[in-house]
């Protein structure tokens, strides 16, 4: 019970700080808008070309904004001189990981929903039938990104050149998640039902399960250094 309360406290704190400061959210929204403009200029109005690249472009937008958001996860603690306070908190540190993961997941899903809505407007696409399946894939893909990203953000928070090291460490580990999300999104956008891309969804579920469990088990060691 105490473990869950501590995890909730961390998640609540992160979301309350972000809701009031909007430091990360403002940057992510602006960055996502810039990406959309670039994609719009690059792809133009060629519907065939758009259909071929849309899944990749969509997830590229999600991943790039996730890199920005996740990289700041523990920098906030350093900026407020609270890092040592987290280290000294008695009990299992995995509660801190879970709280941070929930906070990251909420922020990333909020930005992704906004980006998706802007994609629909910018590229004039109809996602009506694909939307429920797409939301499932978005949730699972984002969980995979956030699970490892939160762990690696803690790992790199105290090293020099962390801005370079963080994506270099994170992206190779994300290959199964990126492959499954892009392929599943491609199928859904082509009008296939969720059942037709179930093998990719299963891969996502498996990757998420492994990432979350491994991160929960290793976070204590990572934080204590």
């Amino acid at each position: 019970m105490s473990w869950a309360r501590r995890a909730l406290a961390v998640a609540w704190k992160d979301l309350a700080v972000e809701r009031r400061s909007k430091e990360t959210l403002n940057a992510l929204v602006f960055f996502s808008l810039l990406l959309l403009f670039v994609f719009q200029f690059t792809l133009g109005s060629d519907r065939e070309r758009l259909a071929a690249v849309l899944p990749g472009v969509l997830w590229l937008g999600f991943v790039l904004s996730a890199l920005l958001a996740l990289g700041r996860t523990f920098l906030v603690e350093r900026e407020h001189d609270c890092w040592e306070g987290l280290l000294l908190a008695p009990g299992d540190k995995s509660a801190i990981y879970l709280g941070k993961l929930v906070g990251n997941l909420a922020l990333m899903l909020l930005v992704e929903t906004l980006v998706l809505a802007l994609f629909i407007v910018f590229f004039d696409i109809d996602l009506g039938r694909a939307m429920p399946g797409l939301l499932v894939v978005m949730l699972l893909g984002t969980l995979g990104l956030a699970a490892v990203g939160t762990l690696f953000a803690a790992m790199t928070a105290n090293v020099r050149a962390r801005e370079l090291l963080f994506p270099v460490l994170l992206l190779p580990v994300q290959v199964p998640v990126l492959l499954a999300t892009v392929k599943a999104t491609e199928g859904l956008l082509l009008g296939e039902p969720l059942a037709a891309v179930a093998h990719w969804v299963k891969l996502l579920v498996a990757a998420d399960t492994v990432y979350v469990i491994v991160s929960l088990l290793t976070f204590d060691v990572v934080l204590e250094g």
């Binding site: 501590r6 609540w12 700080v17 001189d81 040592e84 306070g85 000294l88 008695p90």
Partner: protein, 239 residues
């Protein structure tokens, strides 16, 4: 004051790369006693505090808090500690009450609304309890930090320059609070660079130089000039 030391440091060594920061430090602090740790910049005062706070592992030697080794039994030691570090450990975008609530929950304390209100009143922040910390002065943040520490009723207080950045009124206020904690049986180890009234709360002075405790003496009736002279003799850090 208790007879058995709560804090016991024995032949502690810490090496960073090729730099030997601590080279055989031994020091005891009893319950109800305050020890002021003096030393020049880079003498290893903060490193010693961090080792006792279980944040840094020593290279050799032992340090115990209430009989528990700070390395092997860090999880047992942490609930016994109250740490006031350089930073105040506060989130600017939370209110004073929310900050206290967060740290008490994270620390596994079950502080209810009355406990939080009492802790804030104890440090004179009850009237700004629901104001964001962003609007606080450095002194108010320091007081909030102390409220956080007192909420946990620690047996050992580790204070890194607790008087830094405080005005005279706030210093007097902090002195009174530290005296109250001492009277409650807590052991205080306080790093300071000041030789003035801030040392009033200390029962003993320990000077760290060359990686060792070069001087460990009761403060007694030593005045600021005496302390300055003793400090200069042992550290070669003269104005």
């Amino acid at each position: 004051m208790t007879l058995d030391p709560i804090v016991r440091v024995s032949d502690l060594r810490k090496v960073f790369g090729f730099v030997r920061v601590l080279d055989g430090v031994s020091l005891d602090v009893r319950g109800g006693e305050a020890v002021a740790l003096l030393g020049a910049n880079g003498a290893g005062k903060t490193t010693l505090l961090k080792i006792l706070a279980t944040l840094v592992r020593p290279t050799r030697g032992t340090a115990t808090i209430a009989g528990h080794d700070v390395v092997r039994a860090a999880e047992t030691v942490r609930p016994l500690l109250g740490v006031v570090a350089h930073g105040a450990w506060v989130y600017d975008d939370l209110t004073a009450r929310e900050n206290l609530k967060f740290w008490s929950t994270l620390g596994g304390l079950h502080a209810d609304a009355d406990d939080l209100a009492a802790a804030l009143a104890g440090v004179g922040l009850d009237r700004v309890a629901d104001a964001r910390v962003r609007t606080f002065s450095a002194g108010m943040k320091r007081r909030l930090s102390l409220a956080r520490v007192m909420l946990g009723r620690p047996r050992v207080l580790l204070l890194d320059e607790p008087f830094a950045g405080l005005d005279q009124r706030a210093k007097k206020w902090l002195e009174e609070r530290l005296e109250a904690l001492k009277a409650g049986g807590a052991a205080l180890l306080m790093v300071t660079h000041s030789f003035g009234r801030e040392l009033g709360v200390a029962d003993r002075l320990a000077v760290l130089a060359g990686g060792r405790i070069a001087l460990d003496t009761p403060r007694g009736s030593l005045g600021p000039d005496d302390i300055q002279r003793l400090y200069a003799v042992h550290t070669e850090d003269t104005p």
